[in-house]
Symmetry: C2
Subunit: 199 residues, 2 copies
DNA sequence: ATATTTCTGTTCCAATCGGTGCAGAAAGCG
DNA sequence: CGCTTTCTGCACCGATTGGAACAGAAATAT
């Protein structure tokens, strides 16, 4: 660690450049942004981008990782809440906040980054779909644990509850992309959880 | 009516061509489909497309109109149900069915047609957002009527209820685009309405 | 039959797409 | 110092983008 690599050091901050790329993908989607847009916002030439990140697909993949550990980190944190209701509440509140964060694009990169695509964006679209599935699986496992612990009634269906929460979060992302405000969406989240679990 | 226009008659069925275009926009989104893809599927040359529909943006607009009167006609029908609960139930059930219709693309054209876009697709994206807003306004008006009629409690918030239903429908569309099945999504809709209204 | 109108297929357009080749610049290593 | 390694900027690639020009074909109107 702390190794100084041989060769000319890169003249830009890769983390910062990736952040700019993430914001652009977030705002316009994978197919809505060109390499010229990206490298221009990242402040580097195309060659430097290819050397540092591979290609457009891999750049998006890395931007998604950064998104997951940054704006979408609420998802992992929510899973650590003590009860299923608190997990669901924190997950939806985090979804609302991430989708309506001032200074960031409205909506969720995991949804609008590539919900559908032409031939060129198929890989990215599938990667995003898999990412959402993964998040839903984590919710399902967490709710299953809640059933095992007696926190949720024995008859509760963890898979259904996970899909219910994920459906709401996805809808919140679409609403936010369409301009819905934070308070309005938080009210929706509150209303959705006023009866929990939806037996 | 029944007027025979002067000039050479067009050699293709404009309705059928528009249907093909709608399906392509639905499956791949506005930016995910090229004029070549479109005209090839429509079975016509680009010149004929321009003569009949204007340009790509207008073709999409007309495809959206066709979508509203076809696969998305459930929305208008749901508003005519006698009670608010029946409206909400029919709206969500219609959303599930339209988003998981065999032989049609998964999801909703009104969402994935253009949730975000680059510069070229901005107009289309805004048109789609306005279309969703319009649908939500209709729901809100219908729920307001339900409050006025005493069908919903006086304290109910029609705007919130409309956004709640629309958020669920949007989430259902995203889930369907990601491969969720009809039965699973109908269960989500059932769960969401098991307590209604979500006071 | 001729004129007019409209549609069709082919050809072509400038611009942009994602991606590369290449020469030089900037670092560590001997 | 030269040598190697890596990064940078520039020019450039073939392919594709949405769109338009144009001549001919097919219909009605006179």
């Amino acid at each position: 660690m702390g190794r100084v690599p041989v060769g000319r050091p890169r003249g830009f901050d890769a983390d910062e450049a990736l952040e700019r790329a993430m914001l652009l993908f977030w705002e316009h989607g994978y197919e809505g942004v060109s390499l010229t847009d990206l490298t221009s916002a990242m402040g580097i030439a195309k060659t430097s981008m290819y050397a540092a990140f591979g290609n457009k697909e891999e750049l998006f993949r890395k931007a998604l990782e950064r998104y997951a550990e940054g704006p979408a980190a609420y998802a992992a944190r929510a899973l650590e809440e003590p009860t299923a209701l608190e997990v669901a509440t924190a997950f939806l509140a985090g979804s609302v906040r991430a989708s309506t964060r001032p200074g960031c694009p409205a909506g969720c990169l995991g949804v609008q980054g590539s919900l559908v695509a032409g031939d060129a964006g198929r890989t990215t679209r599938d990667a995003l779909s898999a990412w959402r599935d993964e998040g839903r699986a984590h919710l399902r496992d967490r709710f299953q644990r809640a059933v095992d612990e007696g926190d949720l009634p024995a008859g509760a269906d963890p898979a259904l509850l996970a899909r219910y929460i994920m459906t709401l979060a996805n809808g919140i992302a679409v609403q936010a992309a369409g301009g819905a405000g934070r308070d309005e969406l938080q009210q929706v989240a509150d209303a959705a959880l006023r009866s929990w679990p939806p037996t």
